[in-house]
Symmetry: C2
Subunit: 294 residues, 2 copies
């Protein structure tokens, strides 16, 4: 491959507008600068302290508390605010969105988002995306270079998605190291509801069960070396973000929780019945998964 | 402190019998050798291949498939087989146990163990112990030096426990780096049932829920970067060991599972009712715990 092929592949934007300069938006901005994918990067957010920090850390070039000013002149707009704030945010910047600009997002839920944003954005270029990367910390200070290296980025195009824009966003995520794949919005939400959203809900539930008991037993938490500690990382994730994810992916969540309750109920029944064979059978099953992950 | 004080503190055994040369038993043997706490270390187990490996790795000096031969002449006997095999194991070696030997264990459940072993051991010296350390791997190949460094070791003495033996076992665990504390057997089981056994059960349940869905969706597991992966480490723990733990700590497990089901049910209700404030309140609560762990 000659160098002109590489130039074709590597996307370039005159101005990227990052709406929500937190863990994901900030990390993407850092990589776009490092890889020289943008002429300039502007940030929008609600928290001016966070935006100032983002400028002083060199994550973004400039910021504004008015989203329409940040979007003005941008050829790429990245929605990285909590999913529950998408509609309000898009409505606010839409009148100033350049007709050629690509709008993309990084949200963890896709079906409802696509259903609401596609009609609102009309004929504009919208490429729904979900980089599957996260840490328990939030805010621009949690942003890292290479956060997406080796991580999955799932794009969920529809019949309305402009193929050239899809290609460009695909290349953007490839450039920052992500492994890109495509799913339908509905399939994305069902799959991620199971392997990401349900584990988070379960961790929140466990942490709060332990906290409930800790109110009566002061020293309880100090014994948490044996298994519980692994859950507290997840349990410390952003409350607002997860509230939005669970409510936006509501139907899948309700159905997945019921599947989980049935399995837990089965284990409980085996313990109640002192059914050694039943428990062994279940645990042998879960042991197998570890190998299949590598 | 003069050096003679240190000599007083450091326990020494002519012969340690490690019954069950797996992750915990093997790691303890490694540290006892390294710290010169034993004249010799002999191992018992069911799997001769594992015992041969233990000798060739230098973890133990010798082994036998007959437990009474391993215990013969030992002044410290460490029960490190699954909790469900304690009774059978003790009955087998008891006729050959030296009257002055200390028997201790490393099991994750204490109340039922103490209730059954104290009468069986009669006037012998028995110090129930639980080093809270673990990995998802098992067998002697998983054993590591310094596995207990900084980990908790909980002793659960009763009115029948010989004070000098308790002191000696306390010092043994201190020597290998553990932070030693005491709880009553009943309190141990209630506390560990919550912060260790319940998280493991929940992880097993989640892994099997995901596997249930994966039977229909082939590529499901490949999307597991986002939260699920953390659970699979726990889900890969020893099935036999955990089956024994859940059944031996049965009453606490049933009561803790019910507490957990109530919290999960509350979260589900909030999702069903689209109760943003309810979810936020729950997640803000669980976020606080992370700070209190450090």
């Amino acid at each position: 491959m000659g160098p002109h092929v590489k130039t074709d592949m590597k996307p370039y934007f005159k101005k990227i507008a990052i709406l929500g300069v937190g863990l994901i938006g900030g990390s993407l901005a850092i990589d776009c600068r490092k890889k020289k994918l943008a002429g300039s990067i502007a940030g929008f957010g609600r928290n001016e302290g966070n935006l100032k920090k983002a400028v002083s850390l060199g994550v973004i070039d400039a910021y504004d508390l008015k989203v329409e000013k940040v979007v003005d002149g941008a050829d790429l707009v990245v929605l990285a605010v909590p999913v529950g704030s998408y509609l309000k945010t898009v409505k606010a910047f839409l009148p100033r969105l350049s007709p050629d600009a690509i709008v993309t997002d990084v949200g963890s839920v896709k079906e409802k988002v696509v259903k609401e944003l596609e009609p609102l954005l009309g004929g504009r270029k919208f490429v729904p995306a979900h980089p599957v990367a996260g840490r328990e910390k939030s805010g621009v200070e949690a942003a890292l270079p290479d956060l997406f290296k080796g991580a999955r980025c799932i794009l969920t195009p529809t019949d309305n998605t402009d193929p050239a824009s899809l290609e460009k966003i695909k290349n953007l995520w490839k450039e920052v190291g992500a492994v890109v794949s495509c799913l339908s919005p509905a399939e994305h939400d069902e799959v991620l509801g199971m392997v990401s959203h349900l584990p988070h809900l379960i961790a929140f539930a466990l942490v709060n069960t332990v906290l409930g008991m800790a109110e009566k037993k002061e020293n309880l938490i100090s014994y948490s070396g044996g298994g519980f500690r692994d859950f507290t990382r997840i349990g410390a994730s952003s409350p607002e973000m997860w509230k939005d994810i669970f409510l936006t992916n509501r139907e899948n969540m309700l159905s997945h929780i019921e599947k989980y309750e049935a399995v837990l109920g089965r284990l409980k029944k085996y313990i109640l019945d002192r059914d050694e064979a039943g428990l062994l059978r279940e645990f042998e099953k879960s042991k197998k998964i570890r190998g299949s992950l590598n």
